[in-house]
């Protein structure tokens, strides 16, 4: 659950996740209007609050370096951040790829094809080992952050292609109708095109995000231990000798629960948003 996080400080992780669950739980019971603020809080405030709480270093909290983070909490942190950021970046890339401005279009294509064409392991190694070499002396970006950025950009490229599929499925008439009402590019996309396109590709988005969650164990290659990695470490502990099988089955079960919950959520979302065509 906590990896190598110091035992005495584990309450901080607990608190962070408790706040998260409390906010989510409460948001189910409040009115639609208040719900908006809860969602805004969850997306824009909580991630930074949570990270501050866990990493510490101020407000009298002892600093815990990210190398000590691990276990299931790390799985959650990495998944949540990557999902949160890869989605908007993916949407922007998808729009960029269909832009009529050649510069934006080719930058988007280049970016997508580059990240899509490289294995995630390579990307992780690059971010963890190679990237710091290119930084000027004295600057330092935390390894976890580097890895997070790498995963986010990697998944954003996939997300972009999924979203582009939705954009292409929309009839041209929708663009023309929006334009004929005097809407500019941004309003047209925000109000007419994206709501429809994203709805169309919910299954594809869910697919990508599930794959993302299940890719998180790969971060063991750069020395970060999330749930599966932690079990790999624990099985070498004399106290747990011979329990490897149980550990991995447990990890598999936990991942299945997470992924199944996400998949159910996406199905519900699909149902909720469907309007007859």
């Amino acid at each position: 659950m906590y990896g190598l996080y110091p035992d005495t400080e584990q309450w901080r992780i607990n608190t962070a996740f408790l706040i998260l669950f409390a906010v989510v739980a409460v948001s189910f019971f409040v009115s639609e209007k208040l719900k908006k603020y809860f969602i805004l809080f969850l997306v824009f405030v909580f991630p930074f609050l949570g990270i501050k709480l866990i990493s510490g270093g101020s407000f009298g909290l002892e600093y815990v370096e990210s190398a000590a983070w691990g276990g299931l909490s790390l799985t959650f942190i990495i998944s949540a951040f990557a999902i949160l950021f890869c989605f908007p970046i993916g949407v922007i890339l998808a729009l960029g790829r269909r832009s009529s401005l050649p510069a934006i279009k080719y930058i988007s294509i280049g970016f997508i094809e580059l990240w899509r064409g490289v294995p995630l392991i390579t990307v992780l190694f690059m971010s963890a080992v190679m990237f710091p070499m290119f930084l000027p002396d004295g600057t330092f970006i935390d390894k976890l952050i580097r890895v997070l950025i790498a995963i986010t950009l990697f998944e954003a490229a996939y997300m972009a292609e999924v979203v582009r599929g939705g954009l292409q499925a929309l009839p041209k008439g929708q663009y023309e109708a929006a334009k004929s009402l005097g809407m500019g590019y941004w309003r047209m996309n925000a109000l007419i095109i994206l709501p429809q396109a994203l709805k169309l590709v919910i299954p594809g988005i869910a697919n990508t995000l599930l794959a993302l969650v299940k890719d998180t164990p790969l971060i063991f290659v750069v020395g970060l231990m999330e749930l599966a990695g932690m079990i790999g470490l624990a099985k070498t502990n004399p106290k747990w000798l011979g329990m490897a099988m149980e550990g991995y089955v447990f990890a598999g079960l936990v991942f299945w629960i997470i992924c199944y919950a996400m998949s159910r959520y996406s199905q519900n979302l699909e149902k909720k948003l469907s309007t007859e065509r």
Partner: protein, 243 residues
């Protein structure tokens, strides 16, 4: 009377194929013009150039004193003043009929939501589907959808309405309900340019008829004269085939 739309020597190509050839056209406020012609004659392209869903390559198009050119802000301003109704309705399927009608007034004209809804209900009543306001487009018949599309365009309070074959995708018994709305609109003094094959409608409301073939305006005449005494042989042939 002044001119609200003015086209001067407009030429347009799709790749090498010339779709519009030296089009000159002037429309005065409150005039109703019906454009007819065989398919592929460029009539749809012509009205789509007027709100720049298509770009023209040569000549000038001036709408309500503003020239259509590269400037995006100008184009958006003109599009907000020019309503358009499409053959395929193109309602937004993810929004209710009411939201379809209020979306552009709220976001483009910055109308308060309540006011936009009042305007929308007024226009939906005018096209007689106010009782369907909270349904989604997929739940309506073709005729109702097209009337909703007309109401949506009217909610921007346009000075000009363009109709691109508004009844071509409809079942025969639904055509009349849409034409009735358009006749009502014409009598209310709207400037209208209509591409249609409904000659009965044309005879009833049009001030001028325009006949197009192969990208050119072949004949332009007062409605009565156009039907009773067409000048060009091509027009005669066309009329004999559809009447």
């Amino acid at each position: 009377m002044g001119k609200i739309i003015e086209l001067k020597k407009v030429n347009k190509w799709f790749d090498k194929f010339q779709v519009l050839k030296d089009i000159d056209l002037e429309v005065a406020p409150q005039e109703k013009i019906v454009i007819c012609g065989p398919s592929g004659s460029g009539k749809s392209t012509l009205i789509r150039c007027i709100n720049r869903l298509e770009e023209h390559q040569e000549g000038n198009i001036i709408v309500d004193g503003t020239e259509l050119a590269e400037n995006t802000k100008n184009i958006e301003k003109i599009r907000a003043e020019v309503g358009m109704v499409f053959q395929q309705f193109n309602l937004f399927p993810h929004l209710s009929i009411l939201d379809n009608c209020t979306l552009a007034p709220i976001w483009v004209k910055k109308l308060p939501k309540k006011e936009a809804e009042e305007v929308a209900m007024k226009n939906l009543t005018r096209v007689q589907i106010d009782d369907q306001a909270l349904k989604f487009p997929g739940q309506l018949s073709g005729g109702q959808q097209q009337r909703a599309a007309i109401a949506r365009a009217l909610c921007m309070e346009p000075k000009i309405m363009l109709f691109d074959e508004p009844t071509s995708a409809l079942d025969p018994e639904m055509i009349k309900e849409v034409l009735d709305v358009m006749v009502d609109l014409a009598k209310g003094g709207m400037t209208m340019i209509v591409v249609t094959h409904e000659m009965g409608f044309a005879k009833e409301v049009a001030d001028y008829m325009i006949f197009m073939d192969e990208g050119k305006i072949v004949e332009r005449a007062k409605t009565k004269e156009f039907f009773e005494n067409p000048k060009s042989d091509r027009t005669k042939l066309f009329l004999s085939q559809i009447l």
